[in-house]
Every structure is written in C-alpha cells, then in structure tokens.
C-alpha cells in the first residue's frame, strides 16, 4: 500500500522536476502572478542576460500596490508611482505577458483576482513576488511569496529551486460563534504561535472550524499564514472549494469538471499521514481579536486588555512591548474596548472580498459613522466593486458616511496616496500593523471587517458579538 501523504506532500511530489542529493528541489510553477512593485528589476535582469519569459501563458500581471483608488480617469499624480506602473505595462508588452491594467474591468489586488477569475486551482504551485501569496493555498494549492531574484528565475525558467519546508498542521475544532470570523481565528492563532512560530513550515489548516468556513474565510486564514512566519498556508479541497470553482470562467464544464473535481478532492491529506508538528486550536470559545501593538502577534481579545510589561515572556519581548506601547500611544494593560479611533479601513487582500463587504455592510446598515471617524471602503477588485454595487452595498456604506473607492492595496501599505497622518489611529481589516505600515507615525489595529465596521460607528472598539 502507498505511504499516506499530506496535501503538501502530494503537490510537492508532483511538481519536483529535479531532486539531487544536497541540493534544493527544482519545482515547476503552474501559475506566476506579477505586480508592479517587485517585478521591474526582474525584467531588467532578463534583458541584461538576453532571456525571454518561458511561459507567458502561465504568467499574469496586474497593478495593485501603487494605484490610486480615486477617479481613474485622472492622471496619476505621483510621478514615481506612475513610472512603476508604466514600467509594468512596457515590460508586459515587450515580453508578451497578459496584463490587467489600471483601466481594466478586472484589475484588482493580485490575490483577489487570481481566485475570482478561476486562475487559482487546487493542486497548483503558485508564486508571486508578494508575501501574501499564501492566500491561494485556501484552494488546496501550494502558494508562496518570493523575492525579485526568484521572480526573474520563474520568468526565465517557469521553475524555482526550493528547499522542502517542514509541515505543520493547525487543527481548529469547534464552531465559531456569532460575530466571530476567520480573521479572529487567524489573529488568535498568530497570537498563540508568535510571528515567527511557523517559520520553515508549510501550514495545513484542518478541523471542523476550517471546514465550515466559506472560501472567502479560508482565504483570510491562509493569507495571514506569513504573519505567523509560515512559508505557505493551505486547506484541502472539499465541496465548498468545488462549489466556488464550478462557476468560475475558464474552468471546464459538465462531466470534465466532475472528473477534475474528483482529482482535486483526492488531494486531501490521507488518513494516517504525518506532519512534522501540530497545533490544536479550540474555535468554540474564541472571541473577536484585535491587535494592540506593532506586529500581528501582539493581539488580544476584545473583552481583554493589552499585556503589562511584566507579563512579557523575555527581556527582549519586554523591550519590544515597551517600544510598541510607546509607538502606539497606549498604556500597558489598556483594555481593548477603551481604544478610540480616528480612521477605519475596510480593504486589502485579507478582507476585501464580496463576503467581507457584505458582513461589514450588515453591521453598518442604517447607521452613521461616528463624527470623529473617517471611514474608507476599498474593494479588493473591480469585479468585487461591481458586485457590491449591484447588491447596493456601496449605498449602505456611503449613506453611513464611508468613502467608497476603486480597487487596490490602498491603505494596507500606503504606497498610494491613501495613508494615515502621524498619530492617527486606525481600525484596519488588513494584515500588518508594523510601525509606519499605513503611513509614518500611523497606528494600526488589525481586526475583522465586522469589528472594523462596528468600530467606525461606535468610534471605539466594541464586542461585535453583542451588536444589534
């Protein structure tokens, strides 16, 4: 009988082209996603070496990091941003890579458009010069972020030398309560394992709490794998995955789709397959989580408080806490529900899909954003934006006083004009609360779309489980 294998092992094994002792495996890449920030130097490298792009038909590009989220008919004011966006357009034209440009109806954050267009499929190996590539693992693919030198390597060869990561199972059992979301689950996990806890590992999320998540929720979980240090995050394909994919463009229909579905379902980890390590999470008693500090592991339940300095696990951590409190303008031990806000950002590759916008709109419906708060909603893609508008969600947000923007990464990392001013405090559905991430001196609290929406109305963090 065949040795039982994990989801990760099955995908890895079927993509290894060369494996020589003492060397990293050479992996085939099924899909390469390209954006404007991490690619220009890779294309320069190709030109210098006189190389071409090996598989333009397995490569796709879009602009997301730099693009303004305001009126797209106007020229881009930031000249350096425009230069980078122009460079991508020129590079795609020169090397023959399909591009969803700034005026495309399908432009959007690279990790939102891959799944919605049916490009992301189970069993694939997917890379992108962006650490949140782990998002695509929600479909049972092996997806990971790479650097620019590796982008060049994939462009030239459609392969990548990779050391085989270890495997980590994060088993989440139980039922998430009302108002408790995939975002709360992954924030709690990172708080538990730490921001470097999964380094060197490909994570597989398993258990009943994962099974009951929608594809959007699963993408949120896998997206933030990197914030726990994970090389990748993945979830085995099941009926939820198949149902999501059934309607996607460019996937086969009818019996061919059914045959493919059976193949995808067989990717699931075999009974008895072993992981290198395992973490167990009880999802039933989970409450909404919000970060208080300057990395995603500095997180606490909305019903709780930030730690005191004497609770730090080590001297290095104590100093990190001290710096974080100073930067965040908070006192150690502050109750989370006492934190008041200036800004609310609903967006990013973590939480700007249609389901996220529906959930946030459900909280906002018929209410007004607090007078001291400036709220902004940035859909993950132009297709999400249009869908939301068909459902009238834009009207819900606008009537409440939110700004309704065009698609892009926006204030998740503030490479475009959407940034916090120094000292401004923001509830954000994005993935990183590093110093300066949303603008120099800006203070970011990561949370779910529901919690962010409620915070916009209340002007401070509230326990969204009791929202009515």
């Amino acid at each position: 009988m065949a040795v039982p294998r994990t989801l990760f092992q099955k995908i890895w094994d079927s993509h290894v082209i060369v494996e020589e002792p003492g060397q990293p495996a050479l992996l085939y890449i099924d899909l390469h996603l390209v954006h404007e920030v991490t690619s220009p130097q890779a294309f320069d490298g190709l030109r210098l070496a006189g190389r071409t792009v090996r598989r333009t038909d397995l490569t796709i590009a879009t602009v997301d990091h730099n693009v303004p989220t305001t009126d797209r008919s106007l020229p881009i004011e930031d000249e350096v941003s425009r230069r980078q966006i122009d460079a991508l357009e020129r590079n795609c034209a020169e090397f023959g890579i399909p591009l969803f440009g700034i005026h495309s109806a399908r432009q959007g954050i690279v990790h939102v458009i891959g799944p919605e267009l049916g490009l992301t499929q189970p069993g694939m190996v997917i890379v992108c010069g962006d650490s949140h590539t782990s998002t695509h693992g929600a479909f049972g693919s092996l997806a990971f972020g790479i650097g620019t030198s590796e982008v060049e390597h994939v462009l030239a060869t459609q392969t990548l030398p990779q050391a085989r990561p270890k495997t980590l199972e994060i088993r989440c059992e139980g039922t998430l309560g009302r108002g408790v979301t995939a975002k709360d689950l992954i924030l709690a996990i990172i708080g538990n394992i730490g921001v470097g806890g999964a380094a060197g590992h490909a994570i597989e999320y398993t258990g009943s709490a994962i099974r009951s998540l929608s594809m959007e929720g699963r993408m949120t979980v896998c997206n933030m794998s990197i914030e726990g240090g994970g090389r990748a995050g993945m979830i085995a394909p099941d009926r939820t995955t198949i149902d999501y994919l059934r309607a996607r463009p460019n996937l086969p229909r009818g019996t061919e789709f059914e045959r493919l579905s059976a193949e995808w379902l067989a990717l699931a980890t075999d009974a008895g397959a072993a992981y290198d390590s395992q973490v167990l999470v009880d999802a039933s008693n989970l409450v909404p989580h919000i970060t208080w500090g300057t990395n995603p592991g500095m997180v606490a339940p909305v019903t709780g408080r930030a730690p005191r300095l004497d609770e730090a696990p080590s001297e290095s951590d104590r100093r990190a806490y001290e710096r974080a409190f100073h930067y965040m303008g908070l006192e150690p031990g502050v109750p989370i529900a006492e934190i008041t806000l200036d800004r609310v950002f609903i967006g990013s590759c973590t939480n700007a899909r249609i389901e996220d916008l529906r959930a946030a709109a459900g909280i906002v419906l018929g209410r007004r954003v607090a007078s001291r708060v400036h709220g902004m909603v940035v859909p993950g893609s132009m297709l999400v934006k249009r869908q939301a508008e068909r459902e009238g969600l834009d009207a819900v947000f606008r009537e409440a006083g939110f700004e309704w923007r065009e698609a892009g990464c926006s204030m998740c990392l503030g490479m475009n004009p959407d940034i916090l001013s120094p000292g401004e405090r923001c509830a954000s559905t994005s993935n990183r609360n590093f110093e300066g991430r949303q603008g120099k001196g800006g203070r970011t609290h990561l949370c779910s779309p529901e919690t962010a929406a409620a915070a916009a109305i209340a002007g401070r963090f509230v326990d969204v489980r009791h929202w009515s």
């Binding site: 899909l31 460079a87 490009l119 590796e150």
Partner: protein, 209 residues
C-alpha cells in the same frame, strides 16, 4: 552575483526582536525601478526625525558604528513583506553579513540571491556578540564562510551551519538561473505532461472581456 567568502568589519548591534522588512526599507522607497541606491533609505523611519535630521536615539546612528559591515540582531529578523529591496538596502548601506538567532524564510532566501550572508547563531552567542559590540568601541568580527566560523581578535566565537549548496553558490558567486537552464530537457518533459486546461491559461482568462 557578488561572491562572499570572508568579511571582517565593525559590528553594529540592532538589539531588537522581529525586525520587519517594512522597517529595513519603508514602502515609500519601493517605487524605484532600479536595484541600487536604496542604502540611504535603509531604516529610514528609525534613522531620521521628521525634520530630516539623524535621530540620535537610533542605535545605528551612533558614530562608533559608522562603516559597519556586520549587523547583529535578534530572532525572526526580516519578517513580513517579501520585498527584496530589504537586502538591497542593507547591502547598499554597507552590510555584508548579518548575525541573528533566526530569520524569516523569504528574507533569508533573498539574502543569498544577493551575496549577503545571513548567519544563524545560538541565542547565547548573539547575546555575547551584542554585549561586546556595545561595550567595546570599534568592535570587529570576521565572518568566514569557507571555514564557517565567526571570530574576533580573541579567536573563534562560534562555528555556524550553512546549507552546502547555498554556500557553494555564494562562495563562487553563481547565478542559479544558469544552473536551472542546464535541466532544460527535464523541464520540457514536465511541460509535455501538463494538463490541457493549463496551456494558454492566462491568455484565455485575459482574453475573456
């Protein structure tokens, strides 16, 4: 790629855990489309005050660390964003080797692609090197990749492990795209087995307006 064999230089201590790549090179400098010139922006938000003057409270601004080529820091160095601009900035800032107890995976990979050596050393050894760098003005160490040791004038402080293949590439300054291309026939054989639906995948999606 620039080879790395041995580096001797002043040690600059960055005594912090979880230094993320957003700090190493803030996002406002990622818009450059070149690989060079990032050094003046390394640790920008920590190095400079809002008025543009050097912030004296940032340890690397102390004159005694000027010209340092070896950076010593704490666990999970280089976490967060995959930006290769981080090793480019460190290198352009003059750093040739980093000493830390652990690194984030993507950053670690990116360093090797650029001739910047990330050395993994036990926590206790890092404690000692940080202490010496803080106590002794002009404190220097030698990082010898071929011998796999870190030493100072008193002798070897610690040996270190490095993946033999990565070491081979770094010592010889080899470009791994060239090596991969020697496997052309095996890549082509794999491609011949690709499922039909993947052929022309992105063209099909992009063409569907």
């Amino acid at each position: 790629m620039q080879p790395f064999r041995q580096e001797t230089g002043i040690v600059a201590p960055l005594d912090r855990v979880d230094v993320d790549t957003d700090q190493i090179i803030p996002k406002q400098f990622l818009k450059r489309i070149e690989r060079t010139g990032f050094g003046e922006f390394a640790f920008f938000d920590w190095r400079y005050r809002p008025d543009g003057s050097l912030d004296p409270s940032f340890e690397l601004n102390e004159p005694r660390y000027e010209g340092a080529s070896i950076l010593v820091s704490r666990r999970n160095f280089g976490c967060g964003s995959s930006r290769e601009h981080a090793p480019w900035a460190l290198q352009d800032f003059g750093i040739r080797a980093i000493l830390a107890p652990s690194y984030a995976d993507i950053f670690f990979n990116n360093c090797f692609k650029n001739g910047l050596l990330p050395v993994v050393l036990p926590e206790a050894v890092i404690d000692e090197i940080i202490a010496r760098a803080k106590e002794r003005p002009g404190y220097r160490v030698s990082v010898d990749l071929e011998a796999q040791t870190v030493s100072d004038e008193e002798g070897v402080i610690a040996p270190f492990d490095v993946d033999p293949y990565r070491k081979h590439l770094l010592v010889n300054g080899l470009d791994d795209i060239g090596i991969t291309l020697t496997h052309e026939s095996r890549i082509a054989a794999h491609e011949a087995r690709l499922p039909e639906r993947l052929r022309g995948l992105t063209f099909a999606v992009a063409g569907e307006h």
